[in-house]
Structures are given as structure tokens and as C-alpha cells.
């Protein structure tokens, strides 16, 4: 319990290093999606103006990609323990209708991450791996002779399909944050209200409380 506003108790959710990395990855992703879509679909070519023109967009994109991949690796290592799949997750995801209609009470109690968040975590890990490998193969300036041209043709197709899938996942990710008010502050302030924890991640809240990390009147240490 870090603060008390109008009777609301706040609980620590994400440590500072995780939050900083998360926002670096998010910024990189947006820049990659904008520059990538400019190469993907000619009517979007004007987006390269955001980067100072087609040539600079082409130069920057793979470097930003490397930063994203490194950032995601860090998040991966920090989150992987909390993203392992359990049988409750299968039950949770099978009641997607209840999820989408906001009936958290009809779902199994959720730990730090729900099944949807876990799927997003694993899907992004896989897609970023594909994007990294195919992106390096496509990176003509430095790796044109590292692979054969037929391999590069497959890589660039794989890259564009993986990018489209990653952007679809990203849209859902953004939507869930705005659809569940109180979520964004987990990545901004690093805390969530107790009620948010009770509603969406009750098992996690119980763990935090029973571990003594959310005692009233004390500053809650990072709960990972």
C-alpha cells in the first residue's frame, strides 16, 4: 500500500526497470510499425517523412529493431516466470465471452498475468524472434551476401507477415489497457489500486498480501 487516495489503497505492481524497458519497447514498436508499413504498402509511403524521408527510414528501421529485440529480451527474462501456462489459464481463456463482457467474477482467480496477457507475451516473443531473424536476413546494407537471394525472398515475406500479426496483437494490447481503466498506471506509476487487483488479478493480490508486501501503513516494495 503505497498511497491512500480517498480510501483507495494502491499496490505496487511493476518495478522501475520493467517500466522503463516497457516504454522503450513500446516506442520502438510504434516507430517500427510506422516505418515498416511505409515499405509494406505504397499509399503509406508518406509515413517515411516522420523519419526524415525514405532513405533515413530505411536506415533507421533495422537499428530500432535491434533495440526492440534487446528490450524485449529483458522483459522476457523478467516476466517469463509469471507467464508460464497453468490449467486455470485454459479455463480462463475458454470463457472468453465472460472476459469480453467484463464478468471477472465468473472466471478463475487470476495470478499476476491472465491467460490473454500470457498469450500476448508468448506470441510477441515468437514474432519478435521471427522479425529479428528475417529482418537481419533482409538487411541488405550489411547482410546481402550472408544468405542467398531465394532465402531473402522467403525472409522478407515472413517479415511482413510476422509484422502484420504483431501489429494485430498490439492493437488488442492497447485496447485492453483502455478498456480496463486503472491498468495504465501499472506501467506509469508502477502501482494499481487494490480494487483493480481484487477485480482482475485476485490470486496475485492475495499472494502480495500474504507475502506481507502490501501491509497497510507501509511503503510496498516491488511485487514481482
Amino acid at each position: 500500500m503505497a498511497a491512500d487516495q480517498a480510501g483507495i489503497t494502491f499496490v505496487k505492481r511493476h518495478a522501475l526497470d520493467v517500466r522503463i524497458t516497457h516504454w522503450i519497447v513500446a516506442l520502438c514498436f510504434i516507430l517500427l510499425a510506422l516505418s515498416g508499413l511505409a515499405f509494406f504498402f505504397p499509399p503509406f509511403f508518406f509515413l517515411t517523412a516522420l523519419f526524415g524521408g525514405g532513405e533515413t527510414a530505411r536506415i533507421l528501421h533495422p537499428w530500432i529493431g535491434l533495440v526492440l529485440a534487446l528490450g524485449y529480451l529483458y522483459l522476457f527474462l523478467r516476466f517469463v516466470g509469471a507467464c508460464l501456462w497453468h490449467s486455470d489459464d485454459s479455463r480462463w481463456i475458454s470463457r472468453l465471452g465472460q472476459v469480453m463482457s467484463g464478468h471477472d467474477e465468473n472466471l478463475p482467480e487470476v495470478g499476476k498475468f491472465n491467460a490473454g496477457q500470457k498469450l500476448y507475451f508468448w506470441a510477441m516473443a515468437l514474432l519478435i524472434l521471427v522479425l529479428l531473424a528475417s529482418g537481419v536476413i533482409t538487411w541488405n546494407e550489411y547482410f546481402a551476401h550472408a544468405t542467398s537471394i531465394p532465402a531473402q525472398r522467403i525472409a522478407v515475406l515472413a517479415h511482413s507477415i510476422a509484422a502484420a500479426l504483431a501489429i494485430l496483437g498490439f492493437i488488442v494490447h492497447i485496447h485492453m489497457v483502455t478498456w480496463e481503466p486503472g491498468t495504465l498506471r501499472a506501467m506509469v506509476n508502477g502501482t494499481v489500486s487494490g480494487g483493480w487487483g481484487w477485480k482482475h488479478h485476485r490470486k496475485w493480490l492475495r499472494e502480495v498480501v500474504s507475502a506481507g508486501r502490501a501491509k497497510p501503513g507501509t511503503n510496498a516494495p516491488p511485487a514481482e
Binding site: P42, R153, I161, A164, L168, G195, G197, W198, K199
Partner: protein
């Protein structure tokens, strides 16, 4: 490119509708008669001369072929192959002038993401417009003949222009002008097909039964054609492909299906998200939730 301003562009990379203003322009063709070529490389020298490119001096690798491959400074290359004809038992020195084929259906143009970086003129010439090139190397992946070469500085792609700047003012390509045996001739497509037919008849009458024209259908024909003494085996000529076509991977990558399915899915998800929010309302935390959490934290649950 001056040529882009003087000749009619019929197709332009990453551009939906290129100009198709009707203007009478014959298709042009450069015909390379392999049987007449003596491998003197006057064409190669003329090419670097006209295009003002400098190929750094390399090393002798046991072949007249020099440099060993096309480069961003060498738009045309004489490729040498020694072949023993199994029928006659004789050694044949097969020499082919390699370079851009100026396909009617150019894979480089299809692959290029930069508007106007690759254009095709009404006369059939496929040209790179370097001020629009962003240097991604997609054209290298698109080409079925492995022609465009990527230069490190500036990071852009280069290839034979068919001397579009000379053709634009009514002249022919520098290589054709330099060729001492008229193995390279340039003219309208009709003239060149006619000339080739005469050459093939002549070759056949002299024992080259499989002499023929190389103008592959897989890319809807080319604007650089070869007369080959062994037209049934184009691979003999330093791996000239017998059935070149734009790779199916490139077709799918650049195809409408991939592009529109992905964009439609993105649009549908965004609309879905807005509708989900608007119809059901946000999934808010209630006062009851806060009270329950408070009890839990204070240990009164």
C-alpha cells in the same frame, strides 16, 4: 534521370496508376548475337566509359571474365564458359554479354517499395531513378536474372539503363555502338525480331540445328534478346535461366492478398475495439472491489 522526363513512363514502382498518355513510341530491343561475339569486351569498356563508372582493379582468377561478377560499377559483363560439345567432341568457347534484360514484366519494379524509383518506359526500357531510391535492396530480391547490384556508398541499387539517356535523344546504347562485329544491334522490336530470324536461319544452315532466339515468355519477353547457337540449353551460357519468372515468393509478398488481408484485419480489429468499448462500456473497478481489497490488505477478510 533525364530520360524519365523525355520518355513516356508506363509503369512506376510503388505507384498505382502510372501515366499512360497515348503517345506513339515503338518498343526497342537490343539484340545480342552470341555467335558473332569475339569476347573483346569493347562493350564492357564502352559501358563504363558512358556511365562514368570505375571498377577497382581486381585479381586474375584464371578466366577472361573480369571482374568475376557484375558490380554496382559494372553494368554489363562478358561471361566466359568453356564447353565440350558432346556431339562433335569439340571445345566451344561460349561467351555471353550479361546485364539487365529489360523484362516486359520486371520483378525489380514489382518489388520496389519507393514510389518512382523504378520506371518502365513505353519503349520497354526499365530504369532506376536514383533520387527516388531508398536503398532497401528489394529489387535485388525481385529480379529473376540476378542483375541489380547494391553499392555501399551511396547505398543504392544500380544496373544497365539500356542507355536510356542516349535512347531518349534518338541514339543507341554505348555497347552496341562500340561492338566491332555487330554482335550487338539495337533498334525497334520489330526490326530486331526480323534481324534475329535471318541470323537463326543462317546458323541453322551452318549446322546449328538448335539455334534460336532467347526472349523468355516467363517474364512476358525481354527488351534485350539473345541469338543463341544452342537455344535449347540456355544454361550453357553461364547459367542463363531456361524459364525465368518472378519468384512465387515475391508474387505472394507483393500480392494484393497479403497486403489487403493484413490491412483489412488491422482495420477490423480497430473497429472491433471501438465497438467493444462503446457497446459494453469499459470494465471498471467498482467501489465494492476497492472495499474488498482494503479488507484483504488490512487482514479483515
Amino acid at each position: 534521370m533525364d530520360a524519365a522526363r523525355t520518355m513516356t513512363v508506363v509503369r512506376s514502382s510503388a505507384t498505382a496508376s502510372a501515366r499512360t498518355t497515348p503517345r506513339f513510341e515503338d518498343e526497342v530491343t537490343k539484340l545480342i548475337d552470341v555467335s558473332k561475339c569475339i569476347g573483346c569486351k569493347a562493350c564492357q569498356a564502352a559501358c563504363t566509359e558512358w556511365n562514368d563508372t570505375v571498377q577497382p582493379i581486381g585479381y586474375f582468377t584464371g578466366s577472361y571474365q573480369n571482374p568475376p561478377d557484375l558490380t554496382a560499377n559494372m553494368f554489363t559483363l562478358m561471361r566466359f564458359n568453356e564447353w565440350v560439345n558432346p556431339k562433335s567432341g569439340e571445345l566451344e568457347w561460349l561467351i555471353r554479354k550479361d546485364g539487365c534484360m529489360h523484362c516486359a514484366d520486371p520483378g525489380c519494379l514489382a518489388a520496389c517499395p519507393a514510389p518512382g524509383a523504378i520506371v518502365q518506359y513505353a519503349n520497354g526500357i526499365v530504369d532506376f531513378v536514383h533520387e527516388n531510391c531508398i536503398g532497401c535492396g528489394y529489387c535485388v530480391k525481385g529480379c529473376p536474372f540476378d542483375i541489380p547490384r547494391y553499392s555501399a556508398a551511396p547505398a543504392k541499387a544500380y544496373k544497365c539503363t539500356l542507355c536510356s539517356d542516349r535512347v531518349a535523344v534518338g541514339d543507341g546504347p554505348a555497347c552496341a555502338k562500340a561492338c566491332p562485329t555487330e554482335a550487338i544491334v539495337f533498334g525497334t522490336k520489330g526490326e530486331m525480331l526480323h534481324h534475329a530470324a535471318g541470323r537463326i536461319t543462317d546458323l541453322k544452315s551452318r549446322g546449328f540445328e538448335s539455334a534460336g532466339l532467347y526472349n523468355p515468355d516467363g517474364v512476358n519477353g525481354t527488351h534485350v534478346m539473345y541469338v543463341l547457337p544452342h537455344a535449347d540449353q540456355p544454361e550453357l551460357y553461364s547459367n542463363l535461366p531456361s524459364d525465368p519468372h518472378v519468384s512465387p515468393w515475391v508474387r505472394v509478398w507483393k500480392g494484393a492478398a497479403k497486403t489487403y488481408v493484413s490491412l483489412a484485419a488491422m482495420a477490423a480489429l480497430i473497429v472491433g475495439a471501438v465497438v467493444h468499448h462503446a457497446a459494453g462500456g469499459a470494465n471498471r473497478v467498482s467501489e465494492k472491489d476497492e472495499q474488498a481489497a482494503k479488507k484483504l490488505i488490512e487482514g479483515k477478510e
